[in-house]
């Protein structure tokens, strides 16, 4: 019952009974006991949204003071922090920026300073902090992940999990999807780099070495531009934001930022349009293969460029749709991300609510402080 409340937030006794499969009478007995012990409390009634007659039902939730969960997302140029209480309400949030050239000690300092500032601003003292989820860019650098986990575990005496921040963002998208039952989803983010996250069969996929969803380094153009990974012609060399801006410049269109790109798109600049369509074709082919492999019900595209460049998205959609055209009942919904910059931190918190079936079998880097049971 506590798991239901932790996972789904405030619920009426009838909703709880339906979810746990117990009778209404039994649920009332148990909630009476939990209310008496102060573990849960009545938060409101369903009067507002209630359809039909009858007495409004009380909605119960975990006592927010009984736990806090922190999500931290270190991006290339900023760190986001969210703190949620046990009722799933966000009780503090903030962002701090740093230079892209900033090294890890500096990034960590920025994150920790932000967390302290949030405490001063909101009065949240992290006294009930149960666990911290930290998203970091990149994959597989186990020693860095361990180092980050240790810093947070020592500072807050809480359990810490560390994983790729794009994967966490994909998890957040799956949890916020239009339907309750997205069991197969591909998330792709086009940003300074290109990364992804997968939900397969209702679970966040990690792969055998933690690299599942590394979609930016699929070869899109054999023999193409040199990629930072050492190969040539990766999706990232065609469809990352720097790659798109650079390609426009090489074709004679001055362009330094997403604002410049937006201005060019607004006047339907033919060269820019062509560059975006080429990028969309490369992304679409890669996603077509990934979708043929996984048969997802949703493909989610994230990153600021998604809002700016509809031509790119149209091209992705038509390429993927063609690839899956013969599977008439299998066309996935292809949609922009619902969550924006905070999705990594939200996903990190979601990963802490480990009871989600999406995380069955999930094993990220976990560091536990000796005195605390995880989770």
């Amino acid at each position: 019952m506590l798991r239901v409340l932790r996972q789904h937030g405030a619920q009426s006794r009838n909703e709880i009974a339906a979810r746990v499969g117990l009778s209404r009478t039994t649920v009332s007995e148990i909630t009476g006991d939990l209310l008496g012990r102060g573990v849960i409390r009545v938060v409101d009634t369903d009067a507002v949204e209630r359809v039909g007659s009858g007495r409004p039902a009380e909605r119960l939730a975990l006592d927010p003071a009984s736990g806090q969960y922190m999500g931290v997302d270190f991006g290339h140029r900023r760190v986001n922090v969210l703190v949620a209480d046990a009722a799933h309400d966000i009780i503090a949030s903030g962002t701090s920026r740093y230079e892209e050239s900033a090294q890890w000690p500096e990034r960590l300092d920025a994150g920790l300073a932000l967390i302290e500032r949030l405490s001063n601003d909101t009065g949240v003292h992290y006294g009930a902090l149960q666990a911290i989820g930290v998203g970091v860019p990149g994959w597989g650098d186990r020693s860095r992940a361990d180092g980050v986990a240790e810093v947070f575990a020592e500072r807050f005496h809480a359990a810490v999990i560390v994983d790729n921040n794009v994967r966490f963002a994909g998890l957040a998208e799956a949890l916020h999807a239009q339907t309750d039952s997205v069991r197969d989803l591909i998330y792709l983010r086009l940003s300074d780099g290109v990364g992804g996250g997968l939900v397969v069969g209702g679970q966040l996929a990690r792969g055998s070495n933690g690299y599942a969803g590394e979609l930016g380094h699929v070869t899109a153009v054999p023999g193409g531009d040199q990629c930072r990974c050492g190969k040539r012609g990766c999706v990232e060399t065609v469809a990352s934001v720097p790659a798109i801006l650079g390609r426009c410049r090489r074709l004679g269109v001055p362009m330094e930022s997403l604002d410049d790109l937006k201005a060019a798109v607004d006047i339907a600049h033919p060269v820019v349009d062509e560059v975006l369509r080429e990028a969309g074709t490369a992304v679409g082919r890669m996603l077509g293969t990934a979708a043929m492999t996984l048969n997802p019900s949703e493909i989610v595209l994230g990153g600021d460029i998604v809002e700016i460049a509809p031509a790119l998205i149209r091209q992705v959609t038509s390429t993927v749709t063609y690839e899956l055209s013969w599977l008439t009942d299998a066309a996935p919904v292809i949609r922009p991300a619902l969550l924006s910059d905070e999705s990594g931190a939200l996903g990190a918190i979601a990963a802490l609510f480990h009871e989600s079936p999406l995380l069955a079998g999930y094993e990220a880097n976990v560091t536990t402080d000796g005195g605390r049971q995880w989770p």
Copy 2:
């Protein structure tokens, strides 16, 4: 404890204790009770394989008479049947051929006649038949799958599951893998068609509509040869056995069968070698993207051509290896299938032993006869 015996076959009391996490004393008490009730029996001792001194330990197994499980694999030109007892021993097996043009009623008749013949030959009367797994070619034709399930359920009064036979073959490969712990595996079969099966995060993946692993219809050559799926240039148009034979013929090399291909490979025919390398490159690019998506620990290649055409496999291996070269610790093992023609039927039986963690959350077509509990 019964689950351990069903899943792992004969075990000593110490092995059982280790697997279920109970003390040796408790396990002995429970096995004593089960032996008394005839549910399990002593099958042998570990004397032969025993290292070191000490009294040989008895090995216990489910009483084979307590259940039978049937796997049926309908291919394009033959049906395979395997029957296992509750101790996982194969107690009957056979194959019956039909023309590729045979329609479903004829194929079903061939399968049922084979099953009856096996009974006459072996004395197995299917009296303890608990469940039947049926593999069929192709994907997604739900009404055919339902029809096949009904025929078997009515005939044998047993629970029936029906799924794609290549997916079942992939499951069998994962279960027979070199290590116990293959949680992420891609299986690809190059045959009359090209199909695949996936294990992701320790589970057989189906996708949102049952198409996961449909790797033969990824576009390999944009604008290439017409494929039976309606698209052009699919992997199947380049790397299926008929596609390879046809391409050789078009390049002036007479070739009608895998035997002809083998003869050409044996004399290192340069045109044939080039055709095989082209096919390998197409398969390798597709598998490279699939492997970047899923980060599997193993990629398994099945189909008779795998043994005949090492040049194809070398090309697949080098293409996939290049694609994953920057993930230095993530190179998957790429290997030929361990199981041959019977793998579909073996996988179908494995799917019936539903307790395997590989099948957590697995939902195939399931038909149950009213009088019998499933599973």
